[in-house]
């Protein structure tokens, strides 16, 4: 084992801060890079060392693989932690680090590569006995062959155009009759749309949930599962709320999914932290989707119910330490929920809401954890993902963690930008969400139908009129010079102008 003395973080925002915390607890120096947009970020403030990497755009800064490795070598960093996003799942970056003698805190380039290509990954999973969504190996010449294949995988099935996409040439069939009909229509439509009427069959997974398994693999051949995360609540494939454990995963199913995930990881010689994403249908069948070969945004919910620190585990694995017994047969303790706070306006179709956070007060107290990348005064730039903070709650059961979530959301104060908090308020008032009755399409459906429209969107609370009236009164008094010094809120109003004039922040 080579103990690290210094680690470079090739990332930004909350995850850079999260990694810095782990490094400090391991007594390892933490160095970060920053783009011109991030010089005043929390990550830079929290780091032991900080180096400029380039202008704001990612491709000119956080995606500059060569420069990052050069920097690591120059400052004597033993390893690079890629966080998530950016270069974290680029096989060539992992290889580049290896070639330059810098430890990449993640899997080998081979493992990343093997899981990177959808087709190769699928075939290796099949070979490893990991269930994947069953599909016909190739195009089906006639309805007979289709019926035969359908019989082998069972209904319902979906007929897809080989060269298709965007829903065109797709038909769901629940029995032989629908299959015959669908097959005919699908071919016709495919031919018309793509000039190629070849179609194939796939098992149709109804109302699936997104259940993922967190795994860890060390460099001594040991791979463990730390249980599942329920990530079905997604808006346009973007996770919004994550939980652990899932209400639909029994201990027995947890064991089977865990075994599948471990098998998947072993099949590609996987090391460090990774996540196998599965589709879970209503009858308890699960199908491998893909493997995320990195730390997940939602890793904290697993930490909350296992008591483990996944980033510290990543560091220890990368240092060559074997996974200890504390990682064996982990059972979830209580229930955790994470909500992702985005700088986006749910009243404007979740349009990004960049700007300066004038005031920030994070919720605190029992069962509440904040993984935040910002502070009062932070500038939310348009250049990066609009996620500003993660709010994680823990309770002895889901009901308690839901109550905590509601309390924490109430407590949170973010002034200066719009956030998606109203969405969480709406979710906490929704019976399906409270009963954990959802699938991966649920959130988009509810947002479409307007059922999750933040309550009382249009109707204005009296307190807003009162506040505005007082502000207006004071402003006119001040303009008329009638308001004696110290009366009213001089600070509030002068400050406003002032703040616009300067770069200073509105609090910590």
């Amino acid at each position: 084992m080579i103990p690290f003395r210094k680690v470079l973080i090739a990332n930004r925002g909350e995850i850079a801060v999260r990694i810095l915390r782990a490094l400090r607890e391991k007594n390892i120096r933490g160095a970060v890079v920053y783009s011109d947009a991030d010089r005043e970020s929390l990550a830079v403030l929290a780091a032991d060392e900080a180096y400029r990497i380039g202008p704001a755009p990612s491709r000119e800064s956080y995606l500059k693989a060569e420069e990052l490795v050069d920097l690591a070598v120059r400052i004597g960093a033993d390893a690079i932690h890629p966080g998530y996003g950016f270069l974290s799942e680029r096989a060539e970056f992992s290889r580049l680090c290896r070639d330059r003698g810098v430890v990449f805190i993640g899997p080998s380039p081979e493992a990343i590569g093997a899981m990177g290509g959808k087709v190769e990954a699928r075939n290796r999973m099949i070979a490893a006995g990991v269930p994947v969504v069953p599909g016909s190996p190739g195009a089906l010449p006639d309805v007979e062959s289709a019926r035969t294949f359908a019989a082998t995988i069972g209904y319902p099935v979906i007929i897809k155009a080989s060269s298709g996409g965007g829903g065109k040439g797709m038909r769901v069939a629940r029995n032989d009759a629908e299959l015959a009909e669908g097959y005919r229509l699908a071919r016709a439509e495919a031919g018309a749309s793509f000039g190629d009427d070849a179609v194939f069959l796939e098992k149709y997974v109804e109302r699936p949930r997104h259940i993922e398994i967190q795994i860890l693999g060390d460099h001594h051949g040991k791979v463990v599962s730390l249980g599942e995360r329920e990530c079905s609540l997604q808006r346009r494939h973007q996770k919004v709320v994550e939980e652990a454990p899932s209400t639909v995963v029994t201990p027995e199913l947890r064991r089977r999914m865990g075994e599948a995930a471990v098998a998947a990881a072993k099949a590609v010689g996987y090391t460090n932290a990774g996540t196998c994403e599965f589709l879970l249908d209503a009858t308890g069948n699960f199908y491998f989707l893909e493997m995320n070969t990195r730390l997940q945004v939602e890793h904290p919910v697993t930490e909350m119910v296992t008591g483990l620190d996944l980033v510290i585990a990543q560091l220890e694995i990368a240092q060559g330490q074997p996974l200890g017994p504390e990682f064996d047969d982990v059972v979830p303790n209580g229930h955790a929920i994470e909500v992702r706070l985005y700088a986006e306006d749910p009243f404007r179709r979740f349009a990004p809401s960049p700007g300066k956070i004038q005031r920030l007060r994070l919720p605190q107290g029992p069962g509440v954890r904040n993984d935040s990348g910002v502070f009062g005064g932070s500038e939310i730039s348009i250049h990066y993902d609009p996620m500003i903070s993660k709010l994680i709650v823990w309770g002895r059961d889901r009901a308690e963690s839901l109550r905590r979530l509601g309390r924490a959301i109430e407590e949170l104060r973010i002034v200066g930008i719009r956030t998606n908090v109203p969405l969480f308020q709406a979710l906490l008032a929704n019976a399906d969400f409270l009963a954990a009755q959802f699938d991966i399409h649920w959130l988009d459906r509810k947002l479409e139908s307007g059922e999750l429209a933040p309550q009382g969107g249009d109707e204005i609370p009296e307190i807003a009129v009162i506040a505005a009236a007082i502000a207006h009164y004071e402003r006119s008094q001040r303009q008329a010079g009638e308001l004696p010094q110290g009366e009213g809120h001089p600070s509030g109003w002068r400050a406003l102008a002032r703040r616009d004039a300067r770069r200073g922040g509105g609090g910590c």
Partner: protein
């Protein structure tokens, strides 16, 4: 001080008065005694009767205030009663004649879906703005006729830049 509040589509008579440190706000005839404190810029603590409210108030325009309360933002317009009456009489209350739709964030215009002279309805997409790797439709906040276009596809805009004028 006599005012008319226009918010959420309805208007009410509002009077504000300050009596030895306490505000007395009357809305639609209902009287509220309000003890206020400024917690630095933007943020105010209001005690209305016994109820405690923390709000952030930002002036969004002439007589227009955006109030943050419990994670939500509300826009309230305050005008003096005479102006209000005058506007009603010419049927323009809550309309203020021409309306300029602005970019609420910096970004790049990828598509302009209206031209001058077009009639637009509330919620209709007029401009598509790209920022944070996402495309965002800028919609008409009220119905009317597009009387002016300030941008064309491909242009970069700053937050607050005018995009479309609706009359």
């Amino acid at each position: 001080m006599q005012l008319v509040s226009r918010a959420g589509g309805k208007s009410e008579r509002v009077t504000v008065d300050r009596q030895h440190g306490i505000y007395v706000v009357e809305i639609g005839g209902v009287r509220h005694e309000v003890d206020t404190r400024a917690l630095g810029p933007w943020v105010m603590s209001l005690l209305v009767g016994g109820e405690s409210h923390e709000v952030a108030v930002v002036r969004a325009g002439e007589g227009v205030y955006s109030v943050d309360w419990r994670g939500r933002s509300f826009e309230v317009e305050l005008v003096d009663p005479l102006t209000h009456l005058a506007e009603i009489s010419r049927g323009a209350a809550g309309k203020q004649g021409k309306k300029i739709v602005k970019a609420y964030m910096p970004g790049r215009v990828v598509d302009v879906r209206v031209k001058t002279g077009d009639r637009v309805e509330v919620g209709q997409a007029m401009v598509v703005l790209e920022a944070m790797k996402m495309q965002n439709e800028i919609q008409a906040e009220r119905s009317g006729i597009v009387s002016r276009l300030f941008v064309s596809a491909g242009e970069a805009v700053e937050g607050g830049d005018p995009l479309v004028e609706i009359d």
